[in-house]
Amino acid sequence: RAQGSAEGPVFFAAASLTDAMRALGEMWRAKGNAVPRFSFAASSALARQMEQGAPADIFASADEPWMDYVQQRQLIVEATRSSPLANALVLIAPADRPAPAITLDRNTDFSAVLGADGRIATGDPSNVPVGKYAQAALTWMGQWEKVSPRLARADNVRSALLLVERGEAPLGIVYATDAAASKGVRVVATFPAESHPPVTYPFALARRAADNAAAKGFLAFITGPEAAETYRRFGFGLRTP
């Protein structure tokens, strides 16, 4: 089906942005615009689909490397790339257990909390963004060598959260946004900002939509000040450019 201009721009967004983007979409429609059509999936899938000619007008990745990937292939308008959102990395534990007393610094010893066979649930450091940040943070803490065999590597942050909620893993490392939305977990501590590269969500306009006014408008809307309140509501931070 060819897409008419009345149908609104096609927005490829990382799955972790689902809620915030849906809410923004509603606002955009309330303002009398055509609803954007979302496709939420893993950033990798979305990037590859764009490479194969997917009709995406806007792309929001959950990490920088996949945005780099499409940029190298000249699929986006470089000038429109920006990363307005920020997120924090937190250590969580099941809500129905007494909170372990942990402060996160270079001397934290996880093994005391994990016990003999407990694991830390997080994304797979090899490819899931939250896992990459976790690896950086643990490395910063000098714990990576010790802890890495004790990781439960999930394929996305929601699965990691689930493992903690269900009490399978006594600890987990997820984004603050996810932890905030779950009743099943409590935030034990927040990783110091300097322990890992900033958590960013790069946005960009696809090259094929360079002249698409609706797409440009929506991108401007979600990266603009009007969206800030919504982001905050879902627990995101905003980066000062």
């Binding site: 089906r1 096609v10 490829f12 799955a15 972790s16 689902t18 809620d19 059509r37 979302f38 496709s39 939420f40 999936a41 899938a45 979305l46 590859r48 689909q49 490479e51 194969q52 000619g53 997917a54 009709p55 996305n156 929601r158 959260l161 946004t177 996810d178 905030a180 939305a181 779950s182 009743k183």
Partner: protein
């Protein structure tokens, strides 16, 4: 009824239900004929490369669905060897369309149908085909009047497995056809979207329930048809 129901599911969710059904059915309908052909070649054919065909048929089963989706993307994408031809000649684009979702689903369930049909084919009493030959039935005639009816339980079983699997197909669809509401967002993709949303468990459970109900309806229907077939084939006890 529809009022209540539409209240219960959002418009987008209804769309996902409709899409799922459409995708699963299309994948079965379009997947069946080549699957029967492949099964026939595997069960009866004596040609070099038979093992290769056998392996190729099983490929989608062996690969993680994401890889299959990716391979499809590379092949049928507008830049891919097949996709570009389809696009140039027929203006047909599969990626990111409902048709594409059906294609991905069909490919994933292909081995399931082939296996079922092949199993039935191997159990066909070739004496009956021989009898048809002596009565003047050529290969096609024989296939359609004798073999096909005799393997119909296998075809039905394969189809229903494929239909059920089609309702649940996720990895290949999301990778190949993306997750576009109203076009490629089938139920499993909607369920996935719900699980990716904090607090989305209730929605996920609700949609999973719908998906299951659809599958069960399909199963019950198939069960009825199957019992009838068994009777026609004289396999039911007197």
């Amino acid at each position: 009824m529809l009022e209540a129901a539409t209240g219960w599911l959002t418009a987008e969710e209804w769309e996902a239900v409709r899409l799922s059904l459409s995708v699963a059915l299309r994948s079965v309908v379009f997947g069946l004929p080549p699957a029967v052909l492949a099964a026939w070649l595997l069960a009866r054919g004596r040609f070099p490369g038979r093992s290769l065909l056998d392996a190729a048929v099983h490929l989608p089963l062996v690969m993680p669905p994401v890889v299959v989706g990716w391979l499809l993307l590379v092949t049928f994408g507008v830049r891919g060897p097949v996709g570009s031809l389809l696009n140039d000649w027929f203006g047909l684009r599969l990626v990111f369309t409902t048709g594409g979702a059906a294609l991905a689903t069909a490919v994933m369930s292909f081995p399931l149908i082939v296996r079922a049909v092949r199993l039935s084919l191997e159990a066909v009493d070739q004496g009956l085909e021989d009898a048809a030959r002596t009565l003047g039935a050529g290969p096609f005639d024989r296939f359609f009047t004798i073999t096909l009816p005799l393997i119909s339980p296998g075809i039905l079983s394969g189809a229903i497995t494929a239909f059920a699997a089609g309702l649940g197909e996720f990895g290949a669809v999301i990778t190949f056809a993306s997750n576009i509401p109203g076009q490629t967002q089938t139920l499993p993709l909607a369920i996935y979207a719900a699980t990716q949303t904090p607090g989305g468990e209730a929605t996920a459970a609700k949609l999973a329930g719908v998906s299951f109900a659809l599958a069960v309806s399909g199963l019950l229907l198939a069960e009825m048809v199957s019992r009838r077939m068994q009777r026609l084939l004289g396999r039911e006890r007197g």
